[in-house]
């Protein structure tokens, strides 16, 4: 029996709608997101610490990132809470409030309030000095907004201890997990698209450039210098991994493999490139992409 084109289109749309609903709205427990929340909170504290040492030197009166600098660098629609404070005590008060928000986020205390506060603080800090922001900051910002959507404080948290009862699975957790997976895939895809514009990622010497910089955390420049093949292998392994990660997250059988590979490989790439926290942030995203128990029950 030949199906009419109209029915085929209707079936296709129906299938798409069902997939969409399952991907975004099927209730999920908060256990995976709770771990992401803890790790994101700790990452936030660590990254915020890197601003703390020079806070007044950058943002204070007569600091390097002056209003004139911001005018030349920042998007007109950007806004920062730090725009309104210049004195050292006020700067430190606002900064420490943000760090406390990260600590509370990691602890899961008042998570529904603290998660958006941490996201707003982080966006404010980055907008105060956009030229100082790095890839780890971008990934953390995306992760924090995903946590705002979720009910990540439902488990492994102070909130859970105070509530004293088992939380129910929530569709918001599924939505947040979906957003995290999309971000993981998009970031990997954007990275590989960007890298492959340069010859050194094709001729296989990019690993040498990464390892031979002062900022690299892995001292393998000497080893790479002795073997062109090894240099080529490391370079191509990075691009191959990034491509497999971006695509593999959408294939049911590959997903656990690439997610686990991400947990191991992203930090290694980060160490090699001198972007340790970016590697760590991507590993957290990879963890969020591991299949959940609820995924196995899906028809």
């Amino acid at each position: 029996m030949i199906e009419s084109p109209r029915n085929a289109v209707a079936d296709f749309c129906r299938g798409g709608a069902v997939t969409w609903e399952k991907f975004w709205f099927l209730p999920a427990t908060a256990s995976r997101l709770a771990v992401v929340r803890i790790l994101a909170g700790l990452l936030g504290v660590a990254l915020a610490w890197s601003w703390g040492t020079d806070l007044v030197g950058w943002f204070g009166d007569g600091g390097i990132v002056s209003p004139a600098v911001l005018e030349a660098w920042r998007s007109p629609t950007a806004v920062s809470l730090f725009d309104f404070v210049r004195s050292p005590p006020a700067l430190w008060a606002l900064f420490l409030a943000g760090v406390i928000a990260f600590v509370l986020l990691a602890a899961g205390a008042a998570t529904p309030i603290v998660a958006p506060l941490a996201a707003i603080f982080w966006a404010s800090l980055l907008h105060r000095a956009p030229m100082l922001a790095g890839p780890a900051d971008d990934v953390l910002a995306a992760m924090l907004w995903c946590l705002v959507v979720s009910r990540a404080g439902d488990t492994l948290s102070v909130d859970r201890m105070l509530a004293g009862r088992e939380p129910a699975p929530s569709w918001r957790n599924r939505t947040a997990l979906g957003l995290l997976r999309i971000h993981a895939s998009v970031i990997a895809a954007a990275a590989i698209l960007s890298q492959l514009k340069a010859d050194i990622w094709w001729d296989g010497t990019a690993a040498w450039w990464l390892a031979s910089r002062e900022s690299s955390r892995i001292g393998i420049a000497g080893i790479l210098a002795r073997s062109e093949w090894l240099t080529n292998l490391v370079t191509h392994a990075i691009t191959l991994f990034e491509g497999a990660f971006a695509l593999g997250l959408w294939q049911r059988l590959c997903r656990p493999l690439v997610a686990w590979a991400g947990i191991i490989c992203w930090p290694l790439i980060g160490l090699l490139a001198g972007e340790t926290f970016w590697g760590g942030a991507m590993a957290i995203l990879s963890f969020a992409c591991l299949p959940t128990a609820e995924d196995d029950t899906r028809p």
Binding site: A17, V18, E21, W24, F25, L26, P27, G57, W58, G62, G63, I64, S66, V69, A72, W73, S75, T77, A78, P112, I113, P116, A123, M131, L132, G134, P135, D137, D138, V139, A141, W145, R151, P167, P169, W171, R172, T175, L179, I182, I187, A191, L193, S194, Q195, K197, A198, A206, W209, L210, S212, R213, E214, S215, R217, A221, G274, E275, T276, T297
Partner: protein, 253 residues
């Protein structure tokens, strides 16, 4: 159908960030597997499986679609390769105004390296031009690999790259000098952005090359910060006598 939903008791406590509609309409959450066999198109009947009401799903779908479109446009428009006028216009008019404040309007084009001098590690050197002071300052130190050091390297790199543009040229060197007057103990400074460029792989045994990407004199006179740009010596054209123009070209006035 609506009456059935009102009779259902929300099991989850309402959180501060939970949309009001969801807290009213979210039905009793069953186990995740309990509703797994029901399709989204059966939304009205499957309200008891823990999924949100049809209204909430509709609103969430709209918001998610909007965000995903914004994410795609951010990646397409924030690439180092540039973007089309059409995408840029759509992106800047409809998405940037709400994505930028949240720091979600980023391209994520983490290239790691292109093997160019501008991808080398940059640093800032500040030294007094004349008179006394506490000596020169190099930030970050060569051996420092912390995230703080990475931020200073980004600042130095941004200062060097900005010299290629009109709007941002000179702004950061002046700000860096102005911000470090007190640290160096002098109001007349030479601000230098240096970088250590690794050798080509084919000459891997060679030492890295130290380059000066930017050099400027920054001084404060009567409270005003002045910037006097100076080209690095290796970029200066040799001073020669003007050669006569061939064929009298340009000789007429």
């Amino acid at each position: 159908m609506a009456r059935d939903r009102r009779q259902e008791i929300p099991r989850q406590p309402r959180s501060a960030v939970q949309p009001p509609v969801a807290s009213v309409a979210t039905p009793v959450a069953a186990s995740s597997s309990g509703g797994a066999g029901q399709t989204g198109l059966e939304g009205r009947r499957s309200a008891g499986d823990g999924r949100p009401s049809e209204t909430v799903r509709g609103v969430a779908t709209l918001l998610l679609s909007l965000y995903l479109a914004g994410l795609a446009l951010s990646v397409a428009s924030n690439s180092a390769s540039g973007t089309s006028a059409l995408l840029e216009t759509i992106h800047s008019r409809f998405f940037s105004p709400w994505m930028v404040p949240a720091w979600l309007d980023v391209g994520h084009d983490t290239r790691l390296t292109y093997g160019l001098p501008e991808d080398a590690d940059h640093h800032i050197e500040v030294l007094p031009v004349e008179g006394s002071g506490r000596g020169s300052v190099r930030i970050p130190a060569a051996v420092e690999r912390s995230e703080r050091a990475a931020r200073w390297r980004r600042l130095a790199r941004a200062a060097a790259l900005a010299e290629e543009g009109d709007e941002q040229a000179g702004v950061l060197p002046a700000a860096i000098g102005g911000g470090l007057f007190a640290k160096v103990g002098n109001d007349d400074l030479l601000v230098r952005v240096g970088r250590v460029v690794p050798p080509e792989f084919s000459a891997a045994a060679s030492p890295p090359v130290a380059e000066t990407a930017l050099e400027a004199r920054v001084r404060r006179i009567d409270g005003d910060v002045q910037l006097i740009p100076s080209k690095p010596a290796e970029e200066m054209a040799p001073v020669i006598d003007r050669a006569p123009l061939r064929g009298g070209e340009g000789s007429g006035s």
